[in-house]
Subunit: 260 residues, 2 copies
Amino acid sequence: MERRKFLNKSASAIVSYMGTLPLISLDTEAEKQALSLKPNSVILFQGDSITEGWRSPEPPNYNFDNAGRESLEYNDSNALGSGYAFIAGSEILRAHPNKKIKIFNKGISGNKVDDLIKRWDKDCINIKPDVLSILIGVNDFWDIITGNSKDAPEKYYEDYSKLLNITVEALPQTKLIICEPFAITGTKAVNESWFPAFNVYRDAARKLAAEFNAIFIPFQSVFDKAVSKAAGSYWCYDGVHPSIPGSNLMARAWLKAVKL
Amino acid sequence: MERRKFLNKSASAIVSYMGTLPLISLDTEAEKQALSLKPNSVILFQGDSITEGWRSPEPPNYNFDNAGRESLEYNDSNALGSGYAFIAGSEILRAHPNKKIKIFNKGISGNKVDDLIKRWDKDCINIKPDVLSILIGVNDFWDIITGNSKDAPEKYYEDYSKLLNITVEALPQTKLIICEPFAITGTKAVNESWFPAFNVYRDAARKLAAEFNAIFIPFQSVFDKAVSKAAGSYWCYDGVHPSIPGSNLMARAWLKAVKL
């Protein structure tokens, strides 16, 4: 007993010290082993501009690219951008050097769920991901609140459900990760009128994660906690698009939940 | 004694478990506290293409940039690129949200030490960094081995010493970080002929770090260890320019040594 107590104390002291450093915190054994990454795994990040993260369709014309960087569709900084997919991807590729992992980012700015449906064969099914992470929804809502769309909010759940059904039918072995859409009020693009209306989209994503046995990444709570430490615009430029620290925060929440 | 032994054992079990995850390992208390980051600190990354990391002088013409991202000279993914400076910077900005940290990247492709001297007023002294990290040297060597330069290898130490003397005179309070130049053989750009000749540059950087009381980041050993786990080109596209996992490796080694 005495020993166990002491172990717990010393372990928790270390964990607590780590909390002050840029580290992922330790979790339960179950969480640690949520998802193992097999050799030759293909990981695909899908979504809108938040996932896109300023990735380029073509390499920039830097002279050392000729000598150096290969322009691949995966594992390349052009391909992954410089958002959360890049940061999370860089951790995965560093931590699994001998597994020939391929990481793709096919996020496209402005996309709504039905845009994903339209390009799903090309940008998901054909890639045959072992791990598929989707973050979509803010544009579905944004278009409604700005009057650009007359869609009912329920269309998001219906379209998303359709997308996931297509996915599990074509790729029954693929591990799904559904990311919660998020928004930070008091910023350039997001005011109080977004809530509670926006919660319909958050709830739909959470419900679909449960229905499709997906890992759910609670990004809204991650950002809600963060705004107690710095202004919303510190984490998301305009309340929707993450800044550098916001992208890091997302990557860590993703890695913590997915445990690759 | 019994308790201490047990503590050591449990702590080292945790550290060893952590080694299998994407975590920075715990170090001695002294290392932990090597450098504290004060509010309003300015951090500057300087060097060549490796530091530049595909940063853009101008924001790409993505439509959501108009609504979202501010184009700042610091803390912006255009400004920081997508190399080790970006990854390390994203960790620092996330971990210190309330300190108004500014992170600059002024690495420029192809630069040698004397190029830094030429642009030092504009790209370093005027920025008044509290923390200055320099990685330079591979182009000084590369130009010699390819016959493009007749410089003596000793010029690197002399120029670098001059650069650092200018720096400490203008910015006596600035904390210096000197990064070891590195190269990975068996790759597109780097063959066996680079060593031991290239060690002159590594040794000069290490010597200067000691002379100028700088933190030294041993990047060559970091990559030497990594190549036991995957091919050189997995970590550096051509043996000189880091891939995504290589950039992550560098960022972690940097953060581990600098302890911001």
